[in-house]
Symmetry: C2
Subunit: 560 residues, 2 copies
């Protein structure tokens, strides 16, 4: 293909994307690019009616579902409201890829009719608009996934998760942006461009599910489906102040999605939700399991919802839990607001009668070296095959990046042999075993007669960063390698007066020093900060129950 | 290492193995090599007392456990009986590797003392001798796994499964033979030599768990732990007339075993039991799960025993099941006794009120090509690394094999890259999805309102074969690639008068023609023949319940 053709295709795609927005929602009075925080614009721009504002301001998914199920609000009303607010969010943060509002409104009308005729809901997500990361193929729509070469690639089938959500009564209306190759903690690609953070548009929305992060933070969606192989759900949740849930691999079906590094099964892509409430994560997880996903995706675990585990039957019904708190994993020292979020969490849990013990990092660097070797074992063959129409492979997320400057962690490795990867799999198995034993051995320190019930660690070493400044996704990819389920829970916001810059510490690495230099309380003021909470592999029900306790404890002490 | 040193090491290992048998159990009156069927020798050779014969003649594990729990029989009595009978079996079929009887008797005495002191059993396997395939590392014992280079390799830790069995109150006493590289349907290696079939010592015991097969058929063990990556539990079960159970991957812990192709995680090694009764498989599976194995092996599924699934709550409590019957998968046409076993099963199930429909093969060859490519993707690097002290890699299991003659299916492939394997993983995922959809689509043909509840297929295309004549393990490895749990159930014996050789059919392949030529009703007379029964991935409880129904139906019509 002659050089430049890909650019024409991108221009055409962007034009078609613009045209997917009804003109009356497109030409509205939006703030100039100088306005960095745009969270209030939906309330002030005049496009949304008071009812639409009321609907979209709901954070708790279960509240919205009740309104829908009782026909207090019709699905057409709710869908219209979220379509409008999503379009506003997009025009402010560039968070969307596919926009299919007419289809959504038709579907909503069908659901309203269904409820009227049957007197009952179609399923546990009846009438609820759900956004999808750009990987979830929807029949009849393109799946571009940020690659120019994939423009025009129309899906012949829905991803299994898409079918399940529809069976549950969901309304699908938009797909959301992600970075080229997916393996980035920020969101930018040559087709759809960069998604920015609605708290501060000079800052990253996170990645790879950055589109979901910005959209949900803007209340343009209340619940979205995303993927996470190294932090892609949790980083945007942390950067954008929302909730995220990375279950263990293969609990939520991945069949039929588009993916980077496709076929890399050693540390698999996990599917999970992002939401403005913890209840959204719970509703999503339960709804999908209720449809027996293992009957449609052979890799999905045959593990129905476990109510006993959710009731914390093995943890004294949650009466007095013990948490391990990991302050610093030894890669990058957390910045002050992250530390404060941990302190706040510790205080909240202790006030609620739980125990919090310090947790020392365990072989994090070994996990990272191993995981990186596995993910790059193709020597970038997958990436190269995906940019085969001339678009450049991105080496940096900086707006002014020199395309020829490839930072060390983005340099391709020599391709490995299958036998080499077998050795890495063995190494990972040993690391996982050692970590599980380490976890179990905490039984001597908890005072509960059990090992720690969950771990808590920073959502990341920093809040959102200025575009291009995210470091390798330390603090998140450890848990992928361990295949532990993880919740991302927002805790607080950066407060320049409290989160002052400390004197320099002994730097753990160049990344650590870079982050220290980068952090500026005034510049970062107001950005969200969160934590991660995790349990051992395939303990999703237990984690959701514990997450609820953590979240409630934080609210009880007046979480900001 | 100078040529021949490995032979000295082997000679020393064999000498030490011989010395592990008490002399008074060694020099007994055994039949000459001309006696092909040796099943009756334990009853006639005079080593076992009448009580020891009574104990070891029990087939039903739950019966033996009751006798032990009620102190009718002490563990020392039971263990002594099985130690003696195992040693007889070994001297007739060469089925053992490590023999550690003194340690076993000490353990049995401890358990007897425990029962006396506590008035209750230590666990669900209290006092029961259990044999182990040579892969299950036991602290302080060598793990040779059929490789000369591994002689002297003493395990520093128990495999997780070994710890769990001990926690359940089991007594460990012998480990059993397997083929060099494990990837064979027969059992022979340069260290321990060949294991033969007790029904006919000119015939193979199967592989790779051939030692277990012969030992259990001889009632030298009532329950054994083994592994299965392509048929290694089910082929010996079929060849030796016993029960076998290959669960889905990672339901029973594999951590700490020795393995071939270690680190190959695409189609993983599954751990499961072999037994002289179906109850043995059930007892083993429930006992292991009762110990929460996921707390010791991070890869073991957190999926406790599901009693509702075992009660067949979703299958009308098993009232009228529908089975798909796969007569011929299209690789090798089953020989007449195998066909008769299927006919007998169909008749038994129909008589018991169940429905049996024909099941057409679905992409079996595609599955086989894909699986073989995955398993050989190292280009034999793993095998070569394991024979690095000069012993030859076996290319044939024939007693008179020409070492330079490598049959096509044993020729090393070119090593593949990691990226190549990613493509194979994708291909396998698509095959698995297609097969699951095919299974689910049977709902239109069953008349039960459900898809087929289970499939039935031959245990293999032939009964046991003369040494060296097993073909690639068609009929079994399909289900590994699908990760379906499978039971092997013995059905009948070859009957020369019924199972006459038919006129030649149109041959499907050279293997098919070879099998046709090989089959001789008179030569094969009396050999066991079995079936496989399987359910979709991670439906072990459902499969065990259905297997019980199948086995009972067969007994009710007078299974031979």
């Amino acid at each position: 293909m002659s050089a430049g053709v890909w650019k024409e295709q991108v221009a055409d795609k962007r034009k078609r994307q613009q045209e997917a927005i009804p003109p009356e929602w497109r030409y509205i009075d939006l703030p100039s690019n100088d306005q960095l925080n745009v969270l209030d614009v939906p309330a002030t721009c005049g496009l949304l009616t008071p009812l639409e504002l009321e609907i979209t301001n709901v954070s708790d998914v279960s509240v919205l579902l009740k309104q829908l199920a009782s026909a207090q609000w019709s699905s057409v009303q709710v869908t219209t409201a979220f379509c409008k607010r999503a379009v506003i969010a997009h025009q402010l943060t560039n968070c969307l890829t596919e926009i299919f509002l007419a289809r959504a409104l038709d579907r909503a009308a069908e659901l309203d009719e269904y409820l009227k005729q049957h007197g009952t809901v179609m399923g546990p997500l009846h009438g609820l608009p759900i956004s999808l990361k750009d990987q979830f193929c929807v029949k009849g729509l393109e799946t571009v996934m940020g690659y120019a070469a994939w423009i025009g690639k129309v899906a012949a089938e829905n991803a299994v998760l898409v079918d399940l959500l529809l069976d549950c009564g969901a309304v699908l209306y938009v797909r959301t942006n992600l970075p080229q190759t997916l393996m980035w903690a920020e969101t930018n690609n040559n087709v759809f461009g960069r998604t920015v953070n609605p708290y501060n548009r000079n800052f990253a929305a996170g990645g790879s599910s950055g589109g979901e992060g910005s959209l949900i933070a803007m209340h343009g969606s209340i619940l979205g489906a995303a993927t996470d192989v190294a932090g892609s759900i949790r980083i945007p949740a942390h950067f954008c102040g929302i909730y995220g849930f990375k279950p263990s691999a293969h609990r939520i079906p991945s069949y039929g999605i588009s993916d980077a590094l496709d076929g890399q099964d050693s540390i698999p892509t996990c599917i999970g939700p992002l939401s403005s409430s913890l209840s959204g994560l719970m509703v999503f997880f339960q709804a999908v399991l209720s449809k027996q996903p293992w009957r449609r995706d052979p890799r999905t675990l045959n593990k129905p919802w476990d109510q006993d585990a959710y009731m914390l039957k093995g943890q004294n019904e949650g009466e007095q839990l013990c948490f391990g708190l990991l302050w610093n994993e030894g890669t990058i020292t957390p910045t002050p607001p992250v530390n404060r979020a941990l302190e706040q969490t510790k205080a909240a849990l202790e006030k609620a009668g739980h125990i919090v013990i310090n947790w020392e990092p365990f072989k994090h660097k070994e996990f990272y070296v191993n995981a990186r070797a596995i993910w790059t074992s193709d020597g970038y063959a997958d990436y190269r095959a995906s940019v085969n129409t001339g678009e450049p492979l991105l080496h940096s997320m900086k707006p002014d990046a020199d395309p020829s400057d490839v930072p060390p962690h983005r340099r391709p490795r020599e391709p490995l042999s299958s036998f080499d990867v077998w050795q890495l799999n063995k190494e990972r198995r040993e690391l996982r075993k050692a970590h599980l034993d380490y976890w179990e051995s905490s039984i001597t320190r908890t005072g509960t007669g059990r090992p720690v019930d969950a771990l808590i660690c920073p959502g990341g070493p920093y809040p959102a960063v200025p575009h291009g400044h995210a470091r390798p996704s330390f603090y998140t990819w450890m848990w992928n390698s361990l295949d532990y389920p993880v919740l991302a829970i927002p805790v607080t916001k950066v407060d320049a007066s409290q989160d002052v810059k400390p004197p320099p510490h002994k730097f753990l690495s160049a990344d650590d020093e870079g982050v220290y230099q980068l952090y500026d309380p005034v510049l970062f003021d107001g950005l969200p900060v969160g934590i991660q909470v995790m349990c051992p592999t395939q303990h999703e029900e237990m984690l959701l129950a514990i997450g609820k306790i953590v979240d409630k404890s934080l609210h009880d002490i007046g979480k900001q």
